[in-house]
């Protein structure tokens, strides 16, 4: 018989309080992961986080027993007390509505773990067969990944709830065998055909995969005949997918408040937006049409929840408005750090609900919510933006690596010539070199309503490192005079 997880969470929170914690929360998670054919896993977590004298302590393990609940709670209090060394540090968590007995399940049509593995393997095999018999020399690869996490939460403030989330992703890639063996990437192959989403099995079955195969093959075919990159500055049109990468890696990461303030300096890095007190409301970070919002309520979003890992109900918020930096991603503790700004601006001092952890084995920290580059005011589409460029380059997908302040980046991806407003040949070896503020300030046009697309993205953070998944929505954009170099050549 499985233990009563609510009772364990409550016992841990109570034990921490009696041991002297001014605040405590306990989480238990059961995480199922499946990669059909390759692996199945089931992972338990029990984590207790406490605040003593303004210092945090955290213990976790995979044991679900009443004795363990008490051991974790008392251990976390002892740890926090050791960290404080007798000092006291002010931590303001604000007040939060108490939730008693809440229960939320991410709305999915079909729980992927109710679907037999055979059915999943059939779809993967059918994709491979159809693609490989469609044209000589084609290789196809498919993978699926499913995650379901059940979480039980209790806090010393009296909140308790359960929450179930899902994450489904798949890769259906098509490439020419000779290209692959030359060590080249599977160019134009739609490797992100189904990046992660907060959806169930229907994400796969409703994806239109069968209908997409001819286009994947056509892309792979065209990508074989690539011309060398013409290095220098080019007027470029970026797809929604490429813009999603830029949102994620530049302004998305740079508006994480712990990064901005230096708490992540020894791990993933800091931020070029590192003076919140003077930058908020005044710093121009993008052209006036750029608006970037964040939320954890988007249907189908990977980071979508009813409560974050501190029990906050996340509300949508805006990070960049009319090109101005107006907010950061926060947790309960972090929201208080921005109190002077919020009070000046007449805004509530309130967490944006960005507290998260991979599992209850991991410490809660600020993590990316679902992020969105909002549509421009016009009716532009990717095609119309391309049509507006006489000579330039279209960037269809993008992966970048950034410096430790998310300021300078280099990126590569699938590139095509634009000639007289039409997509032309594929380009080999091009790498986009950019500085984030200039790139965003140069955005000259954005796709309109109806061009926004969503992609699953993930970044690592923290020490020990945790990888968190979330969704990024973006629209296509035109950006003049971006720099391309030949990535395959040195100076």
């Amino acid at each position: 018989m499985e233990p009563n997880l609510h009772a364990l969470a409550a016992r841990a929170a109570e034990a921490a309080r009696s041991a002297g914690a001014t605040y405590a929360d306990a989480r238990l998670t059961l995480t199922r992961r499946q990669e059909p054919r390759w692996s199945e896993s089931e992972e338990r977590g029990f984590g207790v986080r406490v605040l003593v004298n303004g210092y945090w302590g955290f213990l976790s393990s995979a044991m679900w027993t009443p004795d363990e609940a008490v051991r974790l709670a008392r251990g976390a209090v002892a740890q926090a007390a050791a960290h404080s060394g007798g000092q006291t540090r002010p931590v303001e968590l604000g007040t939060l509505p108490i939730v008693r007995g809440g229960d939320w399940v991410m709305p999915v049509k079909y729980d992927p773990f109710d679907i037999p593995v055979e059915e999943k393997l059939d779809i993967m095999a059918a994709f491979t067969d159809i693609a490989q018999t469609a044209r000589v020399g084609i290789n196809a690869q498919s993978e699926m990944r499913f995650v379901r996490q059940y979480k039980v939460f209790a806090s010393s403030e009296g909140s308790s709830w359960t929450q179930t989330t899902y994450r489904t992703s798949a890769q259906f890639a098509v490439y020419y065998r000779d290209e692959y063996h030359a060590g080249l990437p599977a160019a134009g192959a739609g490797a992100d055909f189904l990046s992660a989403a907060g959806r169930g099995w229907e994400y796969i079955t409703e994806s239109g995969l069968a209908a997409a195969i001819p286009q994947l093959i056509e892309d792979a075919e065209q990508a074989r005949h690539r011309v060398p990159v013409d290095i220098g500055r080019h007027d470029m049109v970026l797809s929604a997918e490429a813009m999603a990468t830029l949102v994620d890696q530049t302004l998305g990461a740079a508006t994480e408040l712990d990064r901005a303030l230096g708490y992540e300096a020894n791990a993933t890095g800091t931020s070029y937006l590192d003076r919140p007190e003077t930058m908020l409301g005044t710093q121009v970070v993008a052209s006036p049409q750029v608006q970037i919002t964040a939320n954890r309520s988007l249907p189908g979003g990977v980071a979508t929840v009813q409560w974050d890992d501190e029990g906050v109900v996340p509300e949508p918020f805006t990070l960049v408005s009319k090109g101005l930096l107006v907010d950061y991603q926060t947790t309960r503790e972090q929201a208080a750090w921005l109190a002077p700004y919020y009070q000046r601006a007449g805004l509530p001092v309130r967490s944006h609900g960005c507290a998260a952890a991979s599992t209850a084995l991991d410490l809660t920290m600020q993590q990316a919510p679902n992020l969105a580059l909002m549509p421009g005011s016009g009716t532009a589409t990717f095609e119309s933006l391309v049509a507006g460029v006489e000579k330039g380059i279209a960037l269809l997908d993008l992966s970048v690596s950034m410096d430790q302040q998310q300021l300078n980046g280099i990126g590569s991806g699938t590139m095509r010539e634009i000639v007289h407003g039409k997509l032309g040949r594929f380009i080999n070896g091009g790498a986009l070199v950019f500085r984030a503020p200039e790139l965003w300030k140069s955005v000259s046009a954005l796709g309109g309503v109806g061009t926004q697309r969503w992609y699953g993205r993930a970044r690592g953070k923290g020490e020990p490192g945790q990888q968190m998944d979330y969704s990024v929505g973006a629209v296509p954009a035109a950006i003049p005079q971006l720099s391309l170099i030949d990535a395959t050549r040195k100076a």
């Binding site: 199945e40 926090a80 300096a265 280099i410 020990p464 395959t488 040195k490 100076a491």
Partner: protein, 475 residues
């Protein structure tokens, strides 16, 4: 520029003495517990075939600080059990960290369900070893690393923060210790268990107003070999000396790569390019493109002064002496005096391609041989060049040439006429370790660097014509 760390946690000055025998520690699974666990798992299997169980059990405890304050901690116990079932060369794998009968039974059930769905593949999954190869026994367990002493570790961290706070700059860092055991048990009689301790410490010190940043870090199995005071001093010194950097025009430079920068540049090569089968399929810098189907084994690939190898018994660079599958790690020189001597392969490759019942796994750990020069001597011998602390997020652009791009960080200085003259703004580099290892002027004394769970010993290197391709104004 800096000597190798000396002990602060010196044995004689050690913290509370408390018995931490791996068999009775309680924070991770003992050999007897692993054995009992596997016996339980075996009773849940059905349908013949073979069973292989891998167990990674660990307790880790960390302190994390930022803005000169201990921000968080974390004390975690976890034991991951991976059950592999094989029936007629078809495999299924499932894992769990829940050690109850119900959870283990489900885990075995998942693995057995996957067996039925997977093809029989005798090449990739050969019969188990006909003979069980012995492994070596390096000393990787140190009581003092994992002595329960939260207050002691917190006080060490406060001592590391103090100099930065006094200098009015910001320190952020991470200090973690751990007790671990890796166990592999099969239904065919292979029983392996190895306990080890780990310790790592690193910190970044930043001066926001003056755009300075410094870093230092190291990891060891024995916490006594981490000189935390010296690490804090190095990071602060680098922060202060890197303030107010000036821009230098990118291009080809003579560089002095400190050991951490050498590790950042060379470790991707060790991690991704040492696969024999891939090289023979034409992939990577060790493929012989002139002879399809062959690797470059036997050919000179880097400067003849260089030897690249790994040995679990290396006292400066030892590691758990077998891999997740129980294959022993042998002492190996991948590159000997500049000549490629070996590439890694699994038992499937050994049996089918070499006719031997053996594997040559790559632990990821490595030692790069060096010379005797000090960094001071290298600086004194340089007319114009750059001193590089470390490299950030190197990304492989071209797997064939192993051309990588990344940025410098946490201290970059211009050297002119034998002396450091200026702090320089960071730069993007686009360079291949294959090229750098063929352009070496001088090698320094190898030392342990920061690469947790993949011990690495490398020398500082003075090399010609290192390619910087852009300015990066991040600090």
């Amino acid at each position: 520029m800096y000597d190798a760390p000396v002990s602060l946690f010196h044995p004689s000055a050690s913290v509370v003495s408390s018995h931490t025998d791996p068999e009775t520690d309680g924070r991770f699974l003992s050999q007897a517990q692993c054995r009992a666990l596997v016996d339980r798992i075996l009773t849940f299997t059905g349908g013949g075939g073979r069973t292989y169980v891998g167990i990674d059990s660990a307790w880790t405890d960390n302190l994390r600080w930022g803005r000169n304050v201990i921000a968080t901690g974390g004390d975690t116990q976890r034991s991951n059990v991976s059950v592999n079932r094989e029936i007629r060369h078809a495999w299924g794998t499932a894992s769990t960290n829940a050690l109850t009968d119900d959870a283990l039974r489900r885990c075995v059930g998942h693995a057995e369900a996957l067996v039925l769905l997977n093809p029989e593949d005798p090449d990739d999954y050969p019969d188990p070893p006909r003979e069980i190869h012995p492994h070596t026994h390096p000393t990787l367990w140190f009581d003092r690393t994992v002595t329960p002493d939260e207050a002691g570790r917190a006080s060490v961290v406060l001592q590391m923060i103090a100099p930065a706070a006094a200098a009015n700059v910001q320190s952020a860092g991470f200090f973690e210790v751990g007790a671990h055991a890796r166990s592999v048990v099969t239904s065919e009689g292979l029983t392996r268990y190895y306990p080890y301790t780990t310790a790592q410490c690193s910190l970044t010190v930043r001066d926001l107003a003056a755009h300075g940043s410094g870093w230092a870090g190291v990891d060891w199995n024995d916490v006594a070999r981490i000189d935390t005071v010296q690490l804090a001093a190095i990071a602060l010194d680098k922060c202060q000396r890197s303030r107010n950097p000036v821009a230098v025009e990118p291009g080809r430079f003579t560089v002095i790569l400190e050991p951490q920068a050498v590790c950042d540049l060379v470790s991707p090569l060790i991690a991704y390019a040492l696969d024999r089968s891939a090289a023979e399929r034409g992939i990577g810098p060790f493929a012989d493109l002139a002879r399809p189907g062959y690797s470059r084994i036997g050919m000179r690939v880097v400067d003849p002064r260089l030897t690249v190898g790994a040995d679990p018994m290396d006292p400066e660079c030892g590691f758990v002496p077998f891999d997740d599958g129980g294959e022993p790690y042998l002492a190996v020189n991948w590159i000997e005096h500049g000549v490629l001597r070996a590439l890694s392969y699994d038992r499937g490759y050994g049996l089918t391609q070499l006719g031997i019942d053996a594997a040559l796994p790559n632990a990821g750990a490595f030692r790069l041989s060096g010379g005797t020069s000090t960094i001071e001597e290298m600086i004194a011998s340089t007319t114009r060049g750059l001193l590089v602390t470390r490299l950030n997020t190197p990304r492989v652009l071209d797997i064939q040439s192993f051309l990588m791009s990344g940025t410098t960080r946490d201290g970059l200085w211009l050297i002119e006429r034998g002396a450091i003259t200026k702090s320089v703004k960071n730069m993007r580099f686009t360079e291949s370790p294959m090229f750098v290892l063929n352009n070496i002027e001088t090698l320094g004394r190898p030392q342990r660097v920061f690469r947790p769970y993949a011990p690495t010993v490398v020398p500082p290197i003075l090399a010609r014509d290192f390619s910087f391709t852009g300015l990066v104004d991040a600090v």
